[in-house]
Amino acid sequence: MSQLTALEHDSYPAEQFEDTQQQSLAATLGMWTFLATEVLFFGVLFTGFYMYRMRWPDAFADGAKDLKWYLGGINTAVLLGSSYFVALAVEAARSGDRRRIVRNLLIAIALGVMFIGIKFTEYGIEYHDHLVPSLNFSSVSPEGQPRATQEQIFMTYYFVMTGFHALHMIVGLCVLAVIAFFARRGKFSAAYHNPVEIAGLYWHFVDLVWVFVFPTLYLLRHP
């Protein structure tokens, strides 16, 4: 969606619009509508997670303790930082400062890649701890603690939630890279920078989802 919106600019304003302001509002509203669907897309996972959390409080609290909260915490900080730089890039786009757009976007992309890196390191640790359901989930932790069967449900939710989030991150990184490329080629100006804003919205949204994923999975450690 964001890519499509970003690409709808053969002529500016496009032929179906009367003026640039109309096109800008349409693109913004379109992106926000898409983000509303994304809220519900992830919302299903949160709904299921919290219903099961009420049913199996002990198993889910144990699951949270089996995750590495500090890795999740560091990742949150990394992603918030990345969002900050995207916000700066959008601001630069408004003043038409091409070099500042590119520089801020590159920092944001670097932080995003770092997030993905930490995330996959974490997946490795979980595999090592025998926490992957149906692949190597073990009813005994490496430290010899027994694990409830329902902790598999927790881990399933963990992998689905973080997996879909990572997928959105990867899409977002590609979008930011395309935007940075076009910004470098001088495609955006103070008069025309809508795609930068739209891509920024998407990236902030990915950040916003993580803001909920992190406490949900990592921090509910008490049954």
């Binding site: 809220v39 959390r53 915490g73 918030l80 601001e91 049954p223």
Partner: protein
Amino acid sequence: MTTEAQHDQPTSRTYFLVLVGLLILLALTVGAAFLKIPGHTWGMIIALTIAFAKALLIALYFMHVKFSHKQVAAFAAAGFVWLGILITLTASDYITRNHPASMNYKGEPRYLQSDYPGR
């Protein structure tokens, strides 16, 4: 969206303050998780309240909802309101359902087979 509210756009300084605020909230939520709060309800409420505060900061400042057309705010809220409907009404079943398996897992739930072989 941009042209209407160009005059009170946030500055780099605003963004930086928002980032600092977000990081402080992050520290708070991690700290709260290690407090000994009995029961899962309060832990959940604290964690989610802080998460909402962070989300609000991101939406209002980073995503410019505060500086945009009023419609944008309505669109942004819609997704969350509908998610609220989904969670509330689903919970209306789960909270009141006397489920046979709702007992502690250590107390041998009724139809749980721990040796379930997968498929």
